[in-house]
Symmetry: D2
Subunit: 245 residues, 4 copies
Amino acid sequence: MASQKAWAVVIGVGPGTGASVARRFAKSYSVALLARKPENYEALVQEINNAGGKAIGVSTDASSAQSVKAAFDAINKARGTEPLAAAIFNVGGSFIRKPFLELSPEEFESGWEANGRGGFLFSQAVLPLLLDAVDKVEHPPTLIFTSATAGLKGSAHCASFAAGKFALRALYQSLAREFGPKGIHVAHAIIDGVIDIERTKHYKFDHPDAKISADAIADSYWHLHTQPRTTFTNEIDIRPYIEKW
Amino acid sequence: MASQKAWAVVIGVGPGTGASVARRFAKSYSVALLARKPENYEALVQEINNAGGKAIGVSTDASSAQSVKAAFDAINKARGTEPLAAAIFNVGGSFIRKPFLELSPEEFESGWEANGRGGFLFSQAVLPLLLDAVDKVEHPPTLIFTSATAGLKGSAHCASFAAGKFALRALYQSLAREFGPKGIHVAHAIIDGVIDIERTKHYKFDHPDAKISADAIADSYWHLHTQPRTTFTNEIDIRPYIEKW
Amino acid sequence: MASQKAWAVVIGVGPGTGASVARRFAKSYSVALLARKPENYEALVQEINNAGGKAIGVSTDASSAQSVKAAFDAINKARGTEPLAAAIFNVGGSFIRKPFLELSPEEFESGWEANGRGGFLFSQAVLPLLLDAVDKVEHPPTLIFTSATAGLKGSAHCASFAAGKFALRALYQSLAREFGPKGIHVAHAIIDGVIDIERTKHYKFDHPDAKISADAIADSYWHLHTQPRTTFTNEIDIRPYIEKW
Amino acid sequence: MASQKAWAVVIGVGPGTGASVARRFAKSYSVALLARKPENYEALVQEINNAGGKAIGVSTDASSAQSVKAAFDAINKARGTEPLAAAIFNVGGSFIRKPFLELSPEEFESGWEANGRGGFLFSQAVLPLLLDAVDKVEHPPTLIFTSATAGLKGSAHCASFAAGKFALRALYQSLAREFGPKGIHVAHAIIDGVIDIERTKHYKFDHPDAKISADAIADSYWHLHTQPRTTFTNEIDIRPYIEKW
C-alpha cells in the first residue's frame, strides 16, 4: 500500500490544532486545508509544499452547503483517484460568553451553525470518500472531531457554544455507531485547556507547561488514526497536567 | 400567596406528556397550552375550562421567533399581572431514523430547529417572566425540559434527533447554572421508553405496565416544581420497570 | 390495601437525612431505624411513637454481616407478617480527606466497608422482603441509596470516600437492572451540598437557603417511592440553588 | 537521558493485555512483571531476557499488603537507583456473574479486593517511585489502570465486578487530580470487548477482527506514556469496530 499517495483533509485550519494536525498528517499524506480565511492556511500550504509534502488550500465556509460542496469539488479534482485516508473536523466557531437573556437569536444559532451544521456537511462530504478508501489505505479511514469541555458541560453564559458542541458530540456518537462497523474510525477529542499559540501568549499561569501543545494533540490524533479496527478509541480527553477537572 | 392566580405554560401539547402535564398544573394554575396544530389542545382547553379550571390555547410554531413572540403576546394579555409560576418545554420534533448519508440537510436541521432553536426561543420568552415571579409565587418558578434517551446517547441512524436533544441538554445545563442562583428551578427529564397513548396502543410487550404513564410523568414534574430552592433536582430519568438501560 | 400496616427500614439514621426520611415514611408505615449508636435514633423512636406512629430502633454496624443479620432478626420479629414497603440506605461512613500517600490501608478500606460492604449486606437483607411485598403494598417496594457528589467524581485527597460511593453506585445500577423487572424500585440520590443540620450551623454562605433541607430530601424520597412501576426514576441529583456543579 | 536504564512495572501479567504491555514497554525499559501465579510471567520473562531486554518476575498477590510490599522490595533491589518510569495496573480479578441474592459475602468482596484494595496497594507502592522519577526520565512518569465496561455501568448479575471497577475508577480520578499537577500521568483505559487470546479462540463473531488486539492496546498505553505533561489524556475507551456501545 502506498500510503503517501492518500489524502487527509482538515477543516478549520488555524494557528493551533489545525496547523499542527496538518503538518503531522502531511508527513504521510497529501493534505487539503480548509478555512474560511485564506490567511489561515496560505503560509502553511507553502511550508508543506516547500518541505517536499503536498498541500492545497481551499477557502471554505463550513456552515454553507454550497461552499462545502465547492471545496470538495476542488479536493476531488486535486486527488483524482487517490483515496481519502483521514478527515479532521476542527471548526470551533465563535465563542460567545454573555448572559442568556442578552443573546440574539443569531448569536445563539452560531454555535449550531459552526458545529452542528458544519459537522453534518463535512461528515456527509467525507464519509463516502472514507468508505471508498477502506481496503485501499494502510490504516482504517478516520474521521476525528475536535471538541471542548463545552461538549460535556453547559456552563452559565455559554449556551450557544455548548449547544453546538453537544450537538457535535451527538453527531460523532451516531456516526461512530453507524460507520464503525463499516470500518471507519470515528473519534472525538475533548480538548480541555488553553492551546499554546501566539494569541494565548499573554495568558499567564503559575506553573510551566500549563498550556496544551498543539503538536502533541496532533500526535494523539495520528495515534488514533493508526489504531487497527480491532482496537478503536472513540473518545479521548486532552488537558494540561495542571488543569482542574 | 394566591397560587391559583398564577400561570403555567406548556409548549408542545399533544396527547401524551403535554396533556397530562397541562391537567396536573391546571389543578393549581391557569394554563396556556401551545402547539402547532389547534387540534392538539382544543379539546383539552375545553375540558379544563369545563372542569372549573382556566386554560387558553395558542397555535405556535416553536421554532419560529415570530410565532413564539405572538404566542406570548397572547399569553401576557390573558394573564395580565398574574405571575408565571411554571413553564414546560415538551417539544419533540419529528423523529427521523435513516442512514446518515440519506439525510437531507433539512432533515438533519429539523432536530435542531425543534429542540435547539425551539428551546432557546421558549426560554428567552419565559425566563424574564419567571424571574419576575420570584417571591410572588408559592414554589420556586420552574422551567422543565422534556428530553429522551437521545439526549444522552447518539445512536446509529438517529443523528438529527440526537443532535437536537443533546443541544437541548446543553441549554438546560447552561440555564440551570445561570438562573438557579437567581431562584429559578431549571430541570431536565430524560424519558426513556414508550409513552402509553392511543398512538402506541399497538406496541406489544411481554410484561404488563411496560409503557410509561403520562400522568405519572406529570406527577414527577409537579414534584420537581414543588421542591424548595434549598433542594433542587436538576435532572431525572424516567422509564418503565422493564426498560433495558 | 392497608399501607399503614407495612414497614419501612432506614439504616444510617442520624440528625439529617436519616431522621427526616424516618419521619416522612413514619406517616404511612411502621419504621425500623438502624444506626450504630443508639443516641442517633432513641429520641426519634420516642418522638414517632408519641405522635401515634410506630417505630423501633436497632443498634447496627452496617459493615458487619453478623450485626446486620441480628438487626433484621429483630425487625422481622417486630413486623411479623407485615410487609416491608421501603428500605433506605443512608450510611455515609467517615469522610477522610488527606493526601493519598498518608492514607493507611484501614482508612482507605473504610470507605468500602461503609458503602460497598454495607450496601451489599443491607441489600441482601431487604431485597427478599421487598420481593415478598410486591402485590401486597400500595406502591412498588422501594430501595433507595443516599449518595454524594463523590459518587460521580473522585476528587484529590478523597480516594477512600469516592471509592466507596462509586462502588455503591455500581451496586445500585446492578440491582436496579436485576430487580426493576421484578417490580422493585431501586433508586440512587446524589446529594450535592451541605445538609442544614445542627452540626453545619456554623457554615456560612453569602446566600440564604444555601443548605439542603433534609425534610425536602425526604419529600423527594417519598415521591420516588410513590412512582408507579410504569414510571420509575432511577437517579436524581439534589442540590441547593446556589451550588456550583 | 538514558531511558533504557529506567523501569516499568506491570501487575496482573497474563496472556493478554499484561503480556503485550510488558513486551511493548520492555523495548525501552527494564520490566518487573507481577502476577499471582509464576506460570503467568515465567516464559515472558525468559522471552524478554533472551531478546536482549531485561525482565524480572515476582509472584504477587495484588490484594495483600504484605505480598505487594515484598514484591517492591524485590523490584527495588533489582533496579537500585534506576528510576521507575511507568506502572501498569492490569489486575482483573475473578468475573462473577450470578443473581445478586446468590452472591456470598466473599464473592461480592472479591471484586473490591482485586480492584479497590489492589489498586490502592499498587498505587501507594509506585507513586513515591514515580514522583522520584520526575525530571529523571524522558516521558512523564505514568500510572495506567486497565478497566472494563463494568467500570462505567453496573449490569444485572455483575455487582461484584462492577463495584470493584467503579471503585478503581474513583481511585484513578482522585490520583489523577492529586498527582497530575506533580507531573505524574495517571490514566484509565476502558476496555470494551473480548481480547483476542488463546482462551477466547472459541468465541465466534460474524465479523472478522471482532476481538481486541492486546498488542494494539499496548501501543495505546505506550502512546499515553509518551504524551508530554502539557497534553495528558486521562481516560480512553478501547473497543473493536463492531462492538455495540
